[in-house]
């Protein structure tokens, strides 16, 4: 209990100092398209999510995130219409960006690497797999004012499957972050 009180006091005392300086944290939303790669049972779909941002080092930001993807209906295969919805992918994980720090203004390029727990589910086929997957890509943020960044990024997502294979996709995402 005493530790909790001390921690709360520390936060209360240091918060104004943090606010007075360049923002080190951010929270934002993002959305875009997810394009399955070599997945004949899926089509391009939508992706959106939430992320927090924390400046960890002078060049590195950590981004815990929660992402929801819905792939589209597959095209007919050998004349057979499958007629089912694409799979849903839910992921929570951590990205790190090299560059693109929260706050500040101007053009801020960055590279991004991430790991997440991906759950791929298709109600129609009863496919349901959860695995640790990885992503990597690049993008840029533009800070018009220190409190807000917009960013555009693309990243490759690789989700391992049973037996050594993987499901892959490319995400192209736009985001808006509030910095504090």
């Amino acid at each position: 209990m005493r530790k909790m009180v001390l921690l709360a006091l520390c936060i209360m005392l240091t918060a104004p100092l943090a606010l007075a300086q360049t923002p080190k944290f951010g929270a934002g939303v993002f959305g875009g398209v997810s394009i399955p790669v070599v997945q004949k049972d899926q089509a391009s779909g939508t992706e959106f999510g939430l992320r927090l941002r924390a400046k960890v080092l002078s060049f590195l930001t950590a981004e815990p995130n929660l992402t929801f993807t819905k792939w589209g209906k597959p095209d007919p295969v050998e004349g057979i219409t499958l007629g089912i919805d694409g799979s849903k992918v839910t992921a929570f994980g951590l990205d790190v960006t090299f560059g693109g720090l929260p706050g500040g203004s101007g053009f801020k390029p960055f590279m991004v690497l991430g790991a997440a727990s991906y759950k791929v589910k298709n109600d129609a086929t009863q496919y349901d797999q959860s695995k640790l997957g990885f992503s990597g890509g690049f993008g840029f943020a533009i800070g018009f004012v220190p409190m807000f960044d917009i960013d555009l990024r693309t990243k490759a997502v690789i989700i391992p499957t049973e037996g050594g294979g993987s499901k892959k996709a490319v995400s192209i995402l736009g985001g808006l972050s509030y910095n504090f």
């Binding site: 790669v37 070599v38 997945q39 004949k40 049972d41 899926q42 597959p74 295969v77 050998e78 057979i80 219409t81 499958l82 007629g83 089912i84 560059g99 053009f107 390029p109 960055f110 590279m111 298709n122 129609a124 086929t125 009863q126 496919y127 990597g136 890509g137 690049f138 993008g139 840029f140 693309t154 990243k155 490759a156 690789i158 499957t161 049973e162 037996g163 050594g164 294979g165 993987s166 499901k167 892959k168 490319v170």
Partner: protein, 181 residues
């Protein structure tokens, strides 16, 4: 901007290309189909299905990682004049049809040598179709179906509740495969 075009863009493109390109060569998800037909004029009919001749299957035959999904499409012609109850079964592949009579077949089902995958499907008189999506809602013993499908060859048996003209033509098994190369 200079840092982006000078370092981050090319390095990022290389990373994305390597990640996708490398894995693109070794794994993916493919959909394989194989046709079959049944003439169930005497309660029981048999078909052997061989997926191994399919080019996608052949490309990945040594590295079939998992069967993601299995379903069927069937066009059924029921000339009995009344509704018929249809069942579809799967059995391990063998060199020949193992169960030639309904009694032998029912014993094999009881013994667990044959597994029902579409159970008690009511087929009205006339021509009707079962789409891939519809078949998924009727599937039983999905794990066994996937296990046998992963071997690439399997036996299908069909039964009807009435003896009379009843055909499935065309029928297709639709298999979604995660495989490597």
């Amino acid at each position: 901007m200079r840092a982006f075009t000078g370092k981050i863009l090319p390095v990022g493109l290389v990373l994305v290309s390597l990640a996708l390109g490398g894995c693109l060569l070794i794994s993916g998800t493919f959909v394989v189909t194989e046709s079959f037909s049944f003439d169930v004029s005497d309660y029981l009919s048999f078909q052997a299905v061989d997926l191994t001749e399919n080019s996608d299957w052949q490309d990945h035959k040594d590295n079939i990682d998992m069967i993601d999904a299995v379903g069927f499409t069937m066009t059924m012609d029921n000339s009995n004049g009344s509704a018929v109850t249809f069942n579809l079964y799967v059995a391990p592949y063998a060199d020949k049809q193992l169960y030639n009579t309904l009694i032998d077949f029912q014993q094999a089902v009881t013994d667990g040598d044959v597994y029902v995958v579409i159970k008690d499907l009511t087929v009205p008189a006339g021509t009707s179709t079962v789409t891939y999506a519809q078949s998924l809602t009727h599937l039983h013993n999905l794990d066994k179906l996937k296990e046998l499908t992963k071997t690439g060859k399997l036996h299908l048996y069909a039964t009807t509740s009435l003896a009379g003209s009843f055909t499935v033509d065309p029928g297709s098994i639709v298999v979604t495969v995660s495989g490597s190369k």
